[in-house]
């Protein structure tokens, strides 16, 4: 699964964000996701992708598109 698809699937399935709100240019802040949710999301992404995410790499101003790119870059560097 591409990282952008993974993010939107997780945000919908695990964190209850309505599908119609999940646009690439939306930030986490736009979606009303607090800092603890970002930590929870980081944990799930780390587990699913096998690449570590530190507790401060996802922040409220990050867009979904940026996040997908960040994760894809990490995967590429890790050779995953």
């Amino acid at each position: 699964m591409h990282t952008d698809e993974l993010i939107t699937t997780l945000l919908h399935d695990k964190f209850g964000v309505p599908r119609e709100e999940l646009a690439p240019e939306q930030t986490f802040e736009d979606l009303g996701l607090d800092s603890l949710i970002l930590v929870e999301l980081s944990l799930v992404l780390t587990k699913q992708l096998g690449v570590p995410l530190a507790d401060d790499e996802l922040y409220p101003e990050l867009t979904l598109a940026d996040t997908a790119q960040l994760l894809a870059d990490k995967q590429a560097r890790a050779g995953v």
């Binding site: 607090d34 800092s35 603890l36 930590v39 929870e40 980081s42 944990l43 799930v44 587990k47 530190a54 507790d55 401060d56």
Partner: protein
Amino acid sequence: MTRAAVLRGIGSYLPSRAVSNQELSEQLDTSDAWIRTRTGIGQRFVVQPGESTSDLAVHAGRAALNAAGLDDVAAVIVATATPDYSCPATAPAVAARLGLDGVGAFDVGAVCSGFIYALAVAHGLVTGGVADSVLVIGADCFSTITDPTDRTTRAIFGDGAGAMVLTAGQRDEPGAMLGFELGSDGSREDLIIVPGGGARQRSGTRVEDVAPYFAMQGKAVFMQAVVNMAKSCQAVLDQLGWRPDQVDHLVPHQANSRILAATADQLGLPLDRVVSNIAEVGNTVAASVPLALHDAQRAGRLRPGQRVLLTAFGGGLTWGAAALTWPHPAAGQRNS
């Protein structure tokens, strides 16, 4: 057959004064909704003026001894980060007040991991033949060290005590402690800390700069807690050859309801296997695990022979996990 430390009785104690989210929202810039969504906590109990950790520990210890049908044990361990005094330890006074004259008594300091650490030590005392029976108590009153103006720590922490009596038995008995994993990372001692009041401050020159109150970095702690509790649980599961789906009950330290959920998720355990009473008592630090277990037992949730996995994470940083099977009720148990 192998010697083991076997759980014979469990007890707990909460101080009488309940503080609701509503009451906190009248004193601080917070709300019931904010506290519940971020932590899952609805209320916490706090000590009365003059009431201290040993008082809570004695009540819980007495309840555990009664549940076990015992008057005597050979050792007393108190896990706490809020001892009555920085010197001496709290356990000897607790032992004396329980009528346990002359027994070995000491404190274990691992903040929220304290009870798991203390269980591991008790297991060592029993299986090593140093003591045939041990009273293990987790007791804390963090209401005495949180900043009255800090809405986060005042919302999270509650006071209380829980206790277990372990005596020598066999590994295949229901109630036997079966496996342990303990860990630490002292390079992050700064994440969960009371900076003032200790030797570091007293030996320094700028005494007035060091804060006397408890401080915690929530986001970093959240992630470290979930990762390390899941890792130590997996290590114990591997030790015992248990699959995650074979765990009947997971009892994590009750730090925050979202940490509990995230930990279960990391382990691949359904949320209904998680024991939680955080809504009613908050984060009671070293008392958290035995309080949650005692609560589950009184609710009729735990059956003899069931596989129970305990885990915790706390200041140090420290973490750990322990596994046991749940015991039959003690034949000679008395009402507290």
